[in-house]
């Protein structure tokens, strides 16, 4: 695999860019693997990458029913932040933010991580109290987050409307400067390339039909479109379809899958310098390097796998955007799409062991999984390799729904994750 550097760029430019090697080879499944990962999104490919790189387990396959990075990895609004309320969540998401800092160098692949800052606007007294609590909770853990007055918000992000007579006036904001965005496709491609380079097979367009268990209950392999594949361990990170994949192994999950929508505007010149989120009116927005405004909407209220989502949500989102950023109210939207998110009751993910020996799950990321990709993949690989959770993901166990030790970010972060 050709490394990306100045010398190779010049060399290939002189030969008409015809001699670049492929990023990852087309693979047919082998008869047996040490580990099979179900789901070739950022989390699954990343787990395979860290299994190979940090744990020396290279006989690994990542299997996906579609193309790699074609699920929620390619459908999110690319926001990265770690300003969560609880210590457990802060540790997990900040582990990811730490890894994001050097990810392009680590992967030799430009994931276009841009720590342009994330500003969360407060519109009510309750918002102000809640966000200030977040600021203090973050600072106690050494995570950057600070409080801005409405004027400082305007200075940081000029399109924000801070008029006193607005329907939902801005009363301040919490700013995390290390937060930002990254190119979501590149994250999947970078991890795929890095994993393939270390011997991982990436098998696309091959659905895993069932997880097969032996007489002692432990995992012995997976049935796929391309036949049975024997393996010692299975890690499932199939996003919206985790319930179905895990049900084939007899494991029920506390998940509900719902479509989450996003939309982009026509591209315009740079106008929007950071990420802005407003939970009260439910708008979140950033501008891509192409110039499109990237706008996140909400989830439908009902379980659905339609990958489409209802139009009322888009209308609501656009109303919110027009409220907070009146300068955009005549902007045309180019396209909208949906992805299926798997939501847990406490809106925190599940990363860990399952009641089935040698079966591991990384699920329940709901509407906020992209930001955690490197951290999640890193601790999931550790959990699979060592058969025990990393200290960071230990609190995010599946059995917390039995013990009652929930990590209740649902109330802490309201709608936006």
């Amino acid at each position: 695999m050709t490394r990306f550097n100045a010398l190779n760029l010049v060399k290939n430019a002189l030969t008409g860019h015809k001699n670049w090697t492929e990023q990852w080879p087309e693979c047919q499944p082998k008869a047996e693997y040490d580990v099979v990962i179900v789901g070739a999104g950022g989390h699954g490919l990343g787990a395979a990458y860290y299994l190979a790189k940090e744990h020396g387990i290279t006989n690994v396959a990542v299997i996906d029913k579609g193309w790699l990075g074609g699920g929620n990895t390619g459908r999110n609004t690319t926001i990265i932040r770690s300003n969560y309320l609880y210590d457990e969540s802060q540790a997990l998401f900040n582990h990811a933010v730490d890894l994001w800092q050097g990810l392009s160098q680590e992967l030799n692949y430009n994931v276009m991580y841009s720590n342009r800052g994330c500003l969360m606007l407060a519109h009510t007294v309750h918002d102000v109290q809640s966000f200030k609590r977040h600021v203090h909770a973050n600072r106690l853990n050494g995570i950057d987050n600070r409080w801005l007055t409405p004027e400082e918000c305007k200075e940081y992000c000029p399109p924000v409307n801070i008029a006193k007579d607005a329907r939902y006036p801005v009363m301040g904001g919490a700013l995390q400067e290390r937060a930002g965005t990254a190119r979501h496709d590149a994250v999947a491609w970078g991890y795929a390339r890095g994993a393939a380079e270390r011997g991982v097979d990436i098998i696309q367009n091959c659905a895993v039909q069932a997880i097969r268990r032996g007489p002692d209950g432990a995992v012995i392999g997976v049935d796929t479109d391309k036949g049975f594949i024997k393996c010692k361990k299975v890690g499932v990170s199939a996003s919206g379809h985790n319930s179905m994949v895990m049900a084939t192994a007899g494991v029920r999950l506390p998940l509900e899958s719902m479509p989450l929508q996003a939309l982009v505007s026509e591209p315009v010149k740079p106008v929007f310098p950071c990420v802005v989120m407003s939970n009260a009116v439910h708008a979140y927005c950033s501008q891509s390097d192409k110039g499109e405004l990237v706008i996140g909407s909400g989830t439908d209220q009902y379980v659905s796998y339609s990958q489409r989502g209802g139009l009322p949500l888009i209308e609501h989102t656009i109303a919110a955007i027009s409220e907070v950023f009146p300068i955009f109210n005549r902007m045309r939207m180019l396209r909208k799409w949906g992805g299926i998110t798997d939501n847990t009751p406490d809106r925190s993910p599940i990363i860990g062991k399952t009641p089935v020996p040698n079966l591991y799950v990384n699920c329940g990321w709901g509407t906020g999984g992209f930001k955690a990709t490197p951290g999640s993949a890193h601790v999931f690989a550790h959990t699979i390799a060592k058969d025990e959770p990393h200290p960071i993901n230990a609190p995010f166990s599946l059995d917390r729904f039995r013990t009652g030790r929930l990590i209740d970010e649902a109330a802490a972060a309201a709608v936006a994750h």
């Binding site: 506390p254 009902y302 659905s304």
Partner: protein
Amino acid sequence: MIQIHCPYCGETLPELEFTYAGEAHIDRPENPSDQTDDQWESFLFLRENVKGPHFERWRHAHGCGRFFNAVRNTITDRFYITYKAGEPRPDLATLLEEDK
């Protein structure tokens, strides 16, 4: 927008009039103190999350305000039937046959 038939009002109305209320036919335990942790977990949190025909509850929040049950296909979002709370679970095979 999804159109939903309220079995109490007898009208088919836009989804904005309704709120979703989760999976249907999950009975609250008669004797809560006798339940094990596993049973509570199952009652409170574990869900079928079906891809296909799904039994679920809705509430006509901006109408009669009453809860009812429905069977909806979660791939197409198409409703097969809605029926009043307390009525028995309809036979899925018959519903799918009638829908053809």
